[in-house]
């Protein structure tokens, strides 16, 4: 019953781009929109990746995911503030000297909070979706308020490092420099996740653990540590996503996590609630769709994500790559 890799969903992305080509009218406009959409998709993928991991493997509906995103972004603003000279320096490498630590610190802090979150908030409710929703929302509210206590309620500016400002211009089309970086980071995250999940036993173990925790323990695996590990990884990815998102918006606000919640849930539903490749496809589609409809009919853009999700679910009721029966 082994099936070949199902390539059809992969074709959706080029298909959507091709459909949009005649509609946008000019090739340069199309190129600008498409590249921007794909890059946006990559950023969305990074912020959603942690959630797919946590939901796909551990079956935890973490409505509090957003708080890790916000936390990552806020931590990064503090790191940037401390390294202001590097951010404002007109050298790519000096900029990276600020950006990399910002990312790492954000991931570390988000990961650490993830540890606490798992132990205190998620642990008592494994296997109970409804309670997960409530308790993680509670965690999210608390987290958001604590961010306000620490950083204040107002928005904080998070300007791009100098060398990432502006765009590469190809004739009439423009590709923002930052988006190129986003694509690279997104690809890196994607490859790392696919490798870990497919080439190691970790993925299997956690899937088994979700179905029958006792049995996995009876086979001699310390499932508790594994679950913590995955949750921490998921939170750290959210922290990274927060940095990416914050830099993209160039301002951060405490509510930024809550604002992307619906978006990332749509992405992982399209993906099949837990498939990494599915989430990537979902994110790219969402990114492209937002730009195309935004250009062709801005009113419709409001509903484009939801329409996209409904269309996908009509085609595949369990998302593009269904993960297990749950």
């Amino acid at each position: 019953m082994t099936t070949d890799f199902d390539y059809k969903p992969l074709l959706l992305v080029p298909l959507l781009a091709l459909i949009a080509l005649p509609l946008t009218g000019s090739a340069s406009t199309w190129l600008t929109l498409t590249v921007a959409g794909l890059a946006m998709g990559m950023i969305v993928f990074v912020i959603a990746s942690g959630l797919t991991l946590v939901f796909g493997l551990m079956d935890v509906l973490n409505f509090g995911h957003g708080v890790f995103i916000a936390l990552g972004a806020f931590v990064a603003t503090s790191v940037f503030a401390a390294m202001g000279t590097y951010v404002e320096a007109d050298s790519f490498w000096l900029n990276m000297l600020a950006l990399l630590p910002a990312m790492l610190v954000a991931m570390a802090v988000a990961g650490a909070l993830g540890y606490v979150f798992e132990r205190v908030i998620v642990k008592p409710v494994y296997g109970q979706h409804l309670k997960q929703i409530l308790i993680t929302m509670g965690g999210m509210i608390i987290g958001e308020e604590l961010i306000k206590v620490i950083w204040g309620p107002q928005q904080i500016a998070m300007p791009l490092p100098v060398s990432l400002r502006g765009a590469f211009i190809f004739g009439e089309a423009a590709v923002e420099k930052y988006r190129v970086l986003a694509v690279l980071v997104g690809l890196l995250v994607f490859l790392a996740m696919v490798w870990t999940l497919n080439r190691t036993k970790v993925g299997l173990l956690i899937r088994a653990g979700v179905q029958d925790r006792e049995m996995v323990e009876s086979l001699g695996y310390r499932i508790v540590r594994l679950f913590i590990g995955v949750f921490v990884a998921g939170s750290a990815l959210a922290g990274l996503g927060g940095v990416m998102w914050g830099l993209y918006q160039q301002t951060v606000i405490p509510q930024m996590g809550a604002q992307v919640n619906v978006l990332i849930f749509i992405v992982i539903i399209i993906g099949g609630l837990g498939s990494t490749t599915g989430a990537l496809i979902g994110a790219l589609l969402v990114g492209l769709m937002a730009n195309y409809t935004g250009f062709l009919a801005p009113k419709v853009a409001l509903f484009s994500n939801i329409a996209l999700m409904v269309a996908i679910l009509l085609w595949r009721p369990q998302g593009v790559y269904p993960v297990a029966n749950r």
Partner: protein
């Protein structure tokens, strides 16, 4: 009684929530032998196995494995000291394939190639269905095939103690014979087995020693051969005439 016990339970009490289920179980499992644990529905056999495995914790009493106290240990650690468990409901990972189920059971293996091929062949011989459905999702197996998978998982790597809860239920007679052969072979290979069974025929063919439970206590223990001889004792401990329905 055999002096060399691999596993002993002394006065074990277990509570599930507010219910007091085990009322002081004393049980000795001699090394390298097969011990049958018998008893009516609800006697507490499954609870005993789960308590040994650390899935429920004894509220009182002591459990020792090879001289070590494991009463308060966590399940993974108990398993790592060489105990395999086949639960009553089989504990199959329905979403994973048969192969993946087996891979997880082989704790030392990083991929399926790391599993001893001889042992795998032996399992395929015992349970041909495992080979046939190797890449099948385990949830789609028939009832009996799931049972076979559950037992296969427990024996994919050598262990010092097997705890097996009603392995014969739902199996066709031919497969039951294979399983009996398998347990005999395992015993040869110095494996100690504690087996819960309702099928007395099966029990008689395999058991070296026996313990009978009732109402959360062990009410009889001794050699299997003695119990098999003594029909009066059988009917007192286990209920009505056994012959008619086996």
């Amino acid at each position: 009684m055999n002096t060399n016990n691999l596993l002993t339970l002394q006065g074990v009490h277990t509570h599930i929530g507010a219910y007091h289920i085990l009322h002081g179980v004393d049980l000795h499992v001699p090394a390298n032998q097969l011990t049958m644990l018998l008893g009516r529905n609800g006697a507490g056999k499954t609870t005993t196995l789960r308590t040994i495995m650390g899935l429920w914790h004894a509220s009182q009493g002591r459990i020792t494995l090879a001289g070590q106290d494991i009463t308060q240990q966590h399940t993974p650690d108990i398993s790592r000291s060489g105990v395999a468990y086949v639960p009553e409901n089989m504990g199959i990972f329905a979403d994973l394939s048969v192969k993946e189920n087996m891979l997880l059971a082989a704790r030392g293996a990083r991929s399926i190639d790391d599993i001893d091929t001889k042992r795998l062949e032996w399992i395929f011989d015992l349970f041909p269905a495992m080979k046939k459905f190797w890449n099948h999702p385990a949830g789609k197996l028939s009832g009996g095939q799931k049972q076979m998978l559950a037992v296969s998982r427990a024996i994919v790597e050598p262990r010092q103690l097997l705890l097996i809860d009603e392995p014969s239920k739902g199996l066709a007679p031919a497969i039951i014979q294979n399983m009996i052969a398998a347990f005999k072979a395992l015993k040869e290979a110095q494996t100690t087995i504690l087996l819960v069974e309702q099928n007395f025929n099966f029990a008689r063919q395999l058991g070296d020693s026996v313990a009978v439970m009732d109402d959360g206590r062990v009410v009889h223990s001794g050699r299997m051969a003695e119990l098999a001889e003594d029909e009066a004792l059988q009917s007192r401990l286990l209920g009505l005439s056994l012959k008619a329905h086996q």
